[in-house]
């Protein structure tokens, strides 16, 4: 069935060559410099419909990249969901059974549950737990400037500043549905030197999302010492921002019913100047519920009705750090 969706401006890449792996796990490649250095990991296809990151990693592998020091693990994560990508209904291939990026707490990962995504996460776990630095490549339901999701602690934002892109760095409150990969183990521990970042490159299928993915991969490789400037510089595609600014999420707006609707067509990272401005309408226990901005200069983080159902986060609210 045809559904209304944003235009698809990038080709889902052919990943068949990466099924045969050099490390025993399909669609995972380990590139070892043979020299001591950091253990670095980049992951794409955490969500099967977000393939701009897969384009970036396919490009990297096709160019025969070798790390200068340490080793680099390149992983195409939810390939089962990606294999179901349907041009007529492209949003449906986000996952098969459940969100792959909500299963990273030990109680899920080491528990007795079973799903396509849990099985894949269990295959990938040794690589994730061995990584000193991790970059997770994502994209967004709606058009929006790129956002680096830095987890819930400040060191994530510090790591994103080392990478140098994009302008917007997001510190959030996590997802109640489950732990993300970037929060797992040392990545979520302020005392650990291990760091992870998650880049939202733009709308899933817009051409610029692939450019942002390639650019961010290059800057990440440079920031972690896996590549030098001579390799990275000619491959950069985006002018870096003059300043990176932190948005701190304070709360999530969760749909109560299917009647949920936004007050207007908001764009991601739109700022609502006045506290008390209605931003969405919903129904709760038979009565209308109005969602209002809780403070001045409220930033709307990734507003989208695309996966609307009761209990789903429709938008998150935050504000820019005054220090930046």
């Amino acid at each position: 069935m045809m559904t209304t969706h944003h235009p698809i401006e990038i080709s889902p890449p052919d990943l068949s060559a990466y099924r045969a792996s050099n490390c025993g796990v399909e669609f995972v490649s380990v590139l070892d410099s043979g020299r001591s250095g950091p253990n670095v990991m980049i992951q794409a296809l955490t969500h099967g419909n977000e393939f701009c990151g897969a384009i970036a990693l396919d490009t990297l592998l096709r160019e025969g990249f070798k790390p200068l020091a340490g080793k680099l693990t390149v992983a195409f994560a939810n390939v089962a969901a990606y294999a179901r990508f349907d041009f007529d209904n492209p949003d449906r291939s986000r996952y098969v059974d459940e969100d792959y990026n909500r299963v990273w707490a030990d109680d899920r990962l080491l528990g007795s549950g079973d799903s396509v995504e849990l099985r894949r996460a269990r295959e990938l776990r040794p690589f994730v737990d061995a990584a000193d630095f991790l970059l997770d490549l994502h994209s967004m339901h709606e058009p929006c400037a790129p956002i680096m999701v830095c987890g819930t602690i400040d060191k994530g934002a510090q790591f994103a500043r080392r990478i140098g892109v994009p302008e917007c760095l997001l510190l959030d409150t996590g997802h109640p549905a489950g732990l993300r990969m970037i929060e797992r183990g040392g990545f979520g521990d302020p005392a650990s030197p291990r760091s992870a970042a998650l880049i939202e490159c733009g709308q899933h299928w817009e051409k610029s999302a692939a450019d942002v993915a390639v650019d961010t991969v290059m800057r990440f490789l440079a920031a972690t010492g896996a590549a030098d400037e001579a390799y990275v510089k000619p491959r950069l595609r985006i002018t870096p921002p003059k300043e990176q600014r932190v948005v701190r999420v304070t709360e999530a707006v969760v749909a109560k019913s299917m009647a949920f609707r936004f007050a207007e067509r908001f764009r991601g990272l739109q700022i609502i100047p006045k506290a008390g401005t209605p931003i969405a309408y919903d129904e709760e226990a038979g009565a209308q519920k109005v969602w209002r901005t809780p403070y001045d200069d409220c930033v709307l983080v990734m507003p989208s009705l695309r996966h609307k159902k009761p209990g789903t986060t429709m938008v998150r609210l935050g504000r820019y750090d005054p220090a930046t």
Partner: protein, 130 residues
């Protein structure tokens, strides 16, 4: 241009003889879709990706490969047949497929339509039957 018409007679290159419908570009559209009736990684797909990459560079806008496997490639041809005249869409397929009798009504209609334009992009002489 007629497809499959070689210097020495009809060419029915079944293996990797590939031809494509010429793109019909809609004004104002910035993306060209290349329908491929086979999965990613298959020969037709590999050629489509090579062509798409170069076309995107030459045209200055995205050219995307849209894998539409199933029904031996007929699904993609059917989609092409059903595309509105203003759509920016083309297909690339093994020659054997486009010489197939019009098993599907949609494809038959397409062959007779005014938008029918074909060009050969790969010829493998080893597979040629004259």
């Amino acid at each position: 241009m007629a497809f499959g018409r070689g210097d020495g007679g009809w060419v029915v290159a079944a293996a990797i003889g590939l031809c494509m419908s010429m793109p019909v570009l809609a004004q104002g559209q910035k993306t060209l879709r290349v329908l491929v009736g086979f999965p990613a990684g298959q020969t037709t797909d590999l050629v489509a990706r090579l062509i798409a990459e170069r076309m995107a560079t030459a045209l200055g806008y995205p050219v995307i490969v849209e894998n539409r496997p199933r029904q031996g490639g007929s699904l993609a041809l059917g989609l092409l047949a059903k595309s509105p005249p203003e759509a920016s869409v083309m297909t690339i397929s093994a020659l054997g497929m486009v010489t197939r009798p019009a098993g599907s009504a949609e494809f038959g209609t397409y062959l007779k339509s005014e938008h029918e334009r074909w060009g050969r992009i790969v010829r493998d002489s080893d597979a040629r039957v004259e």
